[in-house]
Amino acid sequence: MAAVPPPAARAPEGEPLSAAAIEARLDEHLDLVLSSRRTAAGPARELAAFSRAEQELVLRWVAVLAAAHAELAYQFASLAPRALRLMDEAGVEAWVRQAMDTYDGAGLYPAVAALREVEAFAERARARAAGLALEEVAGVLERYVRGLGGRPLKVEAGEAPWTDTETLHLPPVLGVLGDREGNFRLYKAMAVCLWAQCWFGTWRAPLVARLRGAGAEAAALYAALEALRLEARLARALPGARRELDALAAALAVAPWPEPWPEAARRLAAPEATAADSLELALAWAGRVAPPPPRPWEGPPRPEAVAATLEARLERERRTLRRELAALAEEQRGAVPDPVRLEAAPFALERIEDPAAPEGFTFRLELDGQPIEPPEEVRGLLTSIVQDLGEIPEEYLVPAGPGEYDAGAQPAGRDPRDVWKGMYHEEGAHLHDEWDYRRGHYRKRWCVLRELDVHPVRDGFVERTLRRHRGLVASLRRTFEALRGEDRLLRRQPEGEEVDIDALVEAYADAATGQEMTDRLFVRKRREERNIAVLFMVDMSGSTKGWINDAEREALVLLCESLETLGDRYAIYGFSGMTRKRCELYRIKRFDEPYSDEVRARISGIRPQDYTRMGVAIRHLTGMLREVEARTKLLVTLSDGKPDDFDGYRGTYGIEDTRMALVEARREGIHPFCITIDREARDYLPHLYGPANYVVVDEVRKLPFKVSDVYRKLTS
């Protein structure tokens, strides 16, 4: 559902604007950053050469960007002519959105830098159209390497494949192979080889230290030798992955490396060969043997970046491990670790042979000589430290003393991305994640949501509605009353319409054994406690202005009448907002609130607001429903269109986030349902709600009746 005015929908037609007209409109937004020496005349002159549609696109985005930062808008206006020559309109919009995202996350300068890379962006967009984008497969690759084991590795876009031992940097797009499947194989090959470096000891701390001083050539030789050693390890541990590497080499006609490489490969294929052997060889060869050309799935190593990551991590993990061990000792012994006894090194590691582990053994943790099962975090830390050092040094196993507890404590780590300037801040607000389908993961604490109250309006709207729909109200009451009584048969009742045969048989049996005969012998039809809680989520976006808003409010009035008859627990919230920093939920009726005069006045006071960021609203209300105890929980959305917000929350992005939020709700045992008046909804609602969980109401005027009717069908 677009907002007012629906930015993308204002179909611009007609003659191109003159340079002067454009300049005037640019001045409106850019005023803040213009001066006598810096005017909008230049960009305006260039833009005058474009079609009216293209001009309007630029002006619209200038307005949007100016709301964030005028400088950003100015830079955009200046670069827009170049962008329009390089890309079609969708491409230009993607480019601006990317800059907006950067601005949200990192601020003005990186955002301007992102805009300036318009050529590179266009290039990537072209390649993406031809090949496979990392974003499409990053989720699968991340899970894949997570499953392979060891320290979790993130996947991010970079130029050539390399890793700093925490992130796998892979090219943003691959088009080397003709088809998507082939390009995916190539991505997978890159991922598995980089994972193998982390898992099989390429980046052990002592080796990295020696490599750093050895120069670029030695590093390249080392990388090539390690590639050979790791191929042999992969052949043993993951034969399928090795076969795929060979198949890729054949498909890409990769020439085998000449001597002395095959000879080295034989040596390094021995099960006892280690990365240290590769390093010796690399240092010996430096200056004598030229590094071979990297294969398509390989890239130049970056020992410096690894060293930096490694150093920070070792320090951090040593501290955390010692703190965790102190906590563990306290928990196990039921007392704070005793500094005197600490001298006796309470924790020890026992080596256990395990041919599957990279070192051929794993560890068992012991406390005071007794094996203990360490918690998840401790196990992860131990694994990570072994990956870096090949062992756990003894000083890592000394529990932190009382004084050391806080020394290393991270300040309750807030992602710097979450902290932004401005008055609309986090106090009293709720932060929610948002799903980014392009990256295949959540943007953490991305949306700031507040609960606000609808300003109550006492203008007789509710009374008018009830009067106008008098007939309908009466019939709804009857239907819902029937629904209330339609429920199960109650058995073993003292009175009722029919005899309960089972009860009678039992009572007869009781009597025959000389026991008192019960009088609970009847079946009675009666309302069983309807254990339902329903939450209505009402679209208050700008696009509902006018009769849609009226219809919504009328629908709510009738709905409340029906629900009051029924006795189900219900709550009503409106949702709207503008950008992720200002998501709003409007309280109309809380679960614990009666249908009071105040609630009626709030219904009457519902007014269209801004945009529709649906995901965050669903997540927040899901949290609310989670707290309610009920056998059946429903989340019913009343809407007039697609999810939409102007900071990029539209199209596939908005739909996929909404879908993910609904998946999360279902996971909590909540049934989501949607009632919409968007006739195009059949294109996307099945994807969001599933085939049977939505209704499209063709005529707005039927909405008031339909909502109650749908609810009746849903819950009977």
């Binding site: 989720g139 084991g149 026991q515």
Partner: protein, 270 residues
């Protein structure tokens, strides 16, 4: 082939059910039984709890009566009720009463699924009184020393509403089960299916890969049961990667990205 009706109290486990002890659970269970203490088996799905009970029933030479609990299970379903037959009233024992009478082992599987009021009928039986009140008959059934009550419970995915009450759980000796160590798990898969050792080892590795994903998109990794099932498919000629997909990946998740990742893991492994 014809089905066979068995009276549970006559159903002694004749041949030794294959069970690989993971720790000291056999000794602990025996000790609990000898001391007339009830036992709680905790652990994720498919890790061998039911198999363990069958094994213990055989070992202790007691009949095993298993009740799978569900949310409609009433106290009478467990204890028994009067029925009328040919003008006479007849009392029919429920499975719990039968187990008590014959001094057998009563195993209440997934106890938290039962209604709360049902759970409390086992309380007098599970403390040192060791009696089963039969209200309808106005009797207390005293359990013989051989009788043993065991319940199971998976702490993994219970909702707050379905947590085991403290007053219940504190009556039991708790045995914690988890998936066996790799070497042991390999042996189990091999013995259960006759699959060759090399493949069994790879299957166990595969299970560990899926267990690495627990919490990163999977609620649970592959259980021993799933491995056994995959191995059976492989033994009947299904290629390993296809068997892993059908018997393991699809059983674990519906999420397309996760399915793809698990599939790539098995494709890398075999």
């Amino acid at each position: 082939m014809t089905g066979q009706t068995l009276r549970p109290e006559e159903h002694f486990v004749e041949t030794e059910p294959y069970y690989e002890p993971v720790g000291d659970e056999i000794e602990v269970f025996e000790a609990a039984w000898r001391n007339q203490l009830p036992v709680l088996l905790k652990g994720p799905t498919g890790c061998g709890k039911t198999r363990f009970m069958e094994h213990m029933a055989w070992r202790l030479k007691r009949p095993l009566i298993t009740v799978s609990c569900h949310d409609d299970l009433t106290a009478s379903d467990l204890v028994g009720r009067f029925l009328v037959a040919g003008g006479e009233t007849v009392w029919v024992d429920g499975p719990l009463a039968r187990a008590v009478r014959c001094g057998g082992i009563c195993y209440l599987d997934e106890i938290v699924e039962a209604r709360k009021d049902t759970t409390v009928v086992i309380h007098p039986l599970a403390d040192d009184r060791r009696v089963l009140p039969m209200e309808k008959r106005g009797e207390l059934l005293k359990a013989p020393p051989e009788f043993c009550l065991a319940i199971s419970y998976n702490p993994g995915y219970q909702s707050v509403l379905k947590d085991l009450k403290q007053s219940t759980r504190q009556r039991f000796v708790a045995l914690e089960f988890d998936y066996p160590e790799p070497e042991l798990e390999r042996r189990i898969v091999e013995k259960e299916t006759g699959i060759e050792p090399e493949l069994a080892e790879r299957l166990v590795k595969f299970a560990h890969m899926t267990r690495n994903l627990k919490g990163s998109g999977l609620d649970e990794g592959a259980s021993t049961r799933l491995l056994v099932q995959a191995a059976k498919l492989i033994v009947s000629g299904i290629p390993p990667v296809a068997a892993c997909r059908a018997a393991v990946a699809q059983a674990l998740t519906d999420d397309p990205e996760m399915l793809a990742a698990i599939h790539e893991l098995s494709a890398s492994l075999f």
